[in-house]
């Protein structure tokens, strides 16, 4: 029998202090609550900073950058600049908190613990789970370091862990965005990548029901990084050697694969503090004792209760301030969006695929009367953009030709992967089709060097004036727009395209 029956008090049904801190941290990580309602991500300057826990920065609620995503992208950009910033931030977080982040602050850790609450037979730790716990170091080496570096050498930004594994990205990012009706058109992007990641996410969630913190223990590369600092971390569970009798109760009570308190697997949850019969274990921040166990604190109960009440009051005040800061409407929120230049089309349904787009092209003869806008059937907003290599691209000059506009960026993996298709389209149709690839205005210092590596003949422009916004885009790349000979939008989609899709869009328009 694994359980001991004990008399329960009302306190046993209340969430523990650690659980409250976890909930508090999860809310702080995702304080942009209005993002969930609007189906958009936060794009403010708080995202200069990396949050400590695993929390996808494409989540509508996220107010900071995910350290793991930032690290992969920094490694993927090693060709242009060394990843000092992210490594420095990870070092600061690791030295200060170590894996206390996993135990107290990580929103994904909280989710795993809540799933583990579902009653089921639980897999106990063993030699096998201990061996499996080293898998996360392999994932760190392969998916977080090797894959981004390998692709960086080929000038393709590739965050391997985000793309192939990260369940936080699938759950918080993809599902978080897709759950909002405002993003209904984004479903058309989903294919094998989403299916694979969804299955991985479901398996991880299912695994967490049976195995305590299955992802954290076996797969999480962020936990692997923080684990390296556990020995030095300022905050964490510490053992007073003079009091320790080496009874082994602490390591035995721990659900993680620890071999001793505070080793690289320890998440400093402080669960062992109350187990220790000699009160040798305490939660500390440097020399200050944060928690010394129920027995040790019993005489000072009243004094500590007062201090904790003040701490919680301060924490709640901070949370209220943060929530107000991120959720109160701002001037830019109330201003009309740049892209809303005309009334929407009669149908709310966006064009979901290439065939549908070509099946119902806008009436060319109606072009002079059609309103300007980014929706299919509207007249594409005019623009002029400076070209790399000199000159400028004016949309007005392409009137009478089928025009393909592609918004891209060197730091966007699917964007650089699909550029050859636009080049192939140019090679096939020549001057009959006007093509322009417009680079995002964010981080443009490596565009010249990137273009010098390839023999692309299509014109490349720079989005200096927010052209992407006039075409309904904002934070998602790539985006492709096809205009007919009269400049009317017949296709406007975020997401990757293939040559076949481009060809099926363009060829019927040329026959008109």
């Amino acid at each position: 029998m694994d359980n001991i029956k004990t008399k329960k008090s009302i306190r046993d049904y209340l969430p523990t202090r650690r659980r409250l801190i976890q909930l508090y941290a999860a809310l702080l990580h995702n304080a942009n609550l209005k993002g969930y309602l609007q189906g958009e991500i936060y794009t403010g300057s708080a995202k200069y900073l990396c949050v400590p826990g695993l929390n996808c920065y494409s989540c509508p609620g996220a107010v900071g950058a995910c350290p793991l995503g930032a690290l992969q992208n920094a490694l993927a950009s090693t060709g242009s600049r060394a990843p000092y910033y992210v490594i420095g931030i990870l070092l600061l977080l690791g030295l200060t908190l170590g894996r206390t982040i996993c135990g107290f602050l990580c929103p994904f850790g909280l989710l795993q613990e809540l799933l583990h609450k579902i009653p089921s037979p639980k897999l106990k730790k063993s030699k096998a789970t201990r061996a499996l716990s080293y898998l996360k170091y392999v994932i760190l080496a392969v998916f977080v370091v090797a894959i981004p570096l390998y692709y960086a050498a080929q000038h393709v930004p590739m965050p391997g862990f985000c793309k192939y594994i990260c369940p936080s990205g699938t759950f918080n990012g993809a599902i978080g965005l897709l759950a909002n009706p405002a993003n209904a058109d984004k479903f058309s992007m989903l294919n094998i990548l989403f299916t694979r990641k969804f299955v991985i996410m479901v398996l991880i969630f299912g695994g967490c029901v049976f195995v305590y913190r299955a992802f954290c223990r076996f797969l999480c590369p962020l936990g692997a990084i923080y684990g390296l600092f556990n020995r030095f971390a300022l905050v964490g569970v510490k053992v007073e050697q003079s009091k320790c009798t080496h009874c082994g109760l602490c390591a035995g009570a721990c659900k993680m694969d620890v071999r001793r308190v505070g080793d690289h697997e320890c998440i400093h949850c402080a669960g062992c503090v109350d187990v220790c019969p000699t009160q040798a274990i305490s939660m500390r921040a440097g020399k200050a004792v944060l928690y010394a166990g129920k027995k040790a604190e019993a005489p000072r109960q009243k004094e500590l209760a007062g201090k904790r009440a003040i701490a919680w009051a301060l924490a709640l005040a901070v949370l209220a301030g943060v929530l107000l800061y991120f959720n109160l409407p701002r001037k830019e929120d109330t201003a009309p969006p740049a892209s809303a230049t005309a009334e929407p089309t009669a149908t709310d349904a966006p064009v979901l695929d290439a065939a549908a787009a070509t099946a119902a092209p806008a009436e060319p003869s109606a072009a002079p009367q059609v309103p300007e806008g980014h929706e299919p059937g509207m007249l594409g907003p005019g623009f002029t953009a400076p070209l790399y290599g000199g000159g400028s691209f004016d949309l007005a000059d392409t009137r009478g030709k089928v025009t393909v506009i592609n918004f891209w960026a060197t730091w966007c993996t699917p964007c650089v992967n699909e550029l050859p298709y636009f080049e192939q389209l140019h090679q096939t149709y020549g001057e009959d089709v006007a093509i322009v690839a417009i680079h995002s205005s964010l981080v443009t210092d490596d565009v010249d060097a990137y273009l010098a590596l390839y023999d692309y003949t299509i014109p490349f422009a720079l989005d200096e004036s927010g052209i992407i916004e006039s075409y309904g885009g904002s934070t998602m790349l790539p985006q492709t727009i096809v205009l007919d000979r009269d400049g009317v939008v017949v296709y406007n989609q975020v997401g990757s395209v293939t040559y076949e899709v481009l060809d099926s869009l363009v060829s019927p328009l040329l026959e008109d």
């Binding site: 037979p121 993809a174 965005l177 694979r196 109760l249 390591a251």
Partner: protein, 145 residues
């Protein structure tokens, strides 16, 4: 009591596995149907997208009873466990001796190195790179495609 506890745990285990398989099957089946030859008008050109809000809603409606049953069962099992469950008996694990303490100068030295790296990163534009990636949705990174 122990018999009931065990029964509830195994029932929930079976239900958990079944729900996970059901969700995975739905996703795989949507992918299979969307990529079947019948959904292509020409090589590489689909008649209808693989996923759409309508398709997902239909699939979710189909499995909604199973999900509701699972959620209800989980809540009831949690309540039963909270009322009748005991605390886990602590086990004893052969301890491994604590390592030697790190030298006192190491932590301050590492902090200085970390601060220097952050400063260098801000200077070389690394901080802006982080912002750019965080405020733009990398569709591929979150599994959208």
């Amino acid at each position: 009591m122990e018999k009931t506890r065990r029964l509830i745990r195994w029932c929930m285990a079976v239900l958990t596995v079944a729900v996970c398989l059901l969700l995975c099957w739905q996703a795989i089946d949507i992918y299979r149907v969307g990529n079947s030859p019948a959904n292509f008008s020409a090589p590489g050109v689909r008649i209808a997208p693989v996923y759409s809000r309508q398709i997902v809603a239909e699939r979710l409606r189909a499995i909604a009873p199973a999900l509701v049953v699972y959620a209800a069962a989980a809540v009831l099992a949690l309540i039963w466990q909270a009322v009748h469950g005991g605390k886990e008996r602590p086990r004893v694990q052969k301890p491994v001796p604590q390592p030697k303490r790190a030298p006192g100068w190491l932590l301050p030295a590492l902090y200085i190195a970390a601060a220097a790296l952050v400063a260098l990163g801000v200077a070389n534009g690394g901080a802006r790179d982080v912002l750019v990636k965080a405020v733009n949705i990398c569709t591929e990174c979150i599994g959208l495609g």
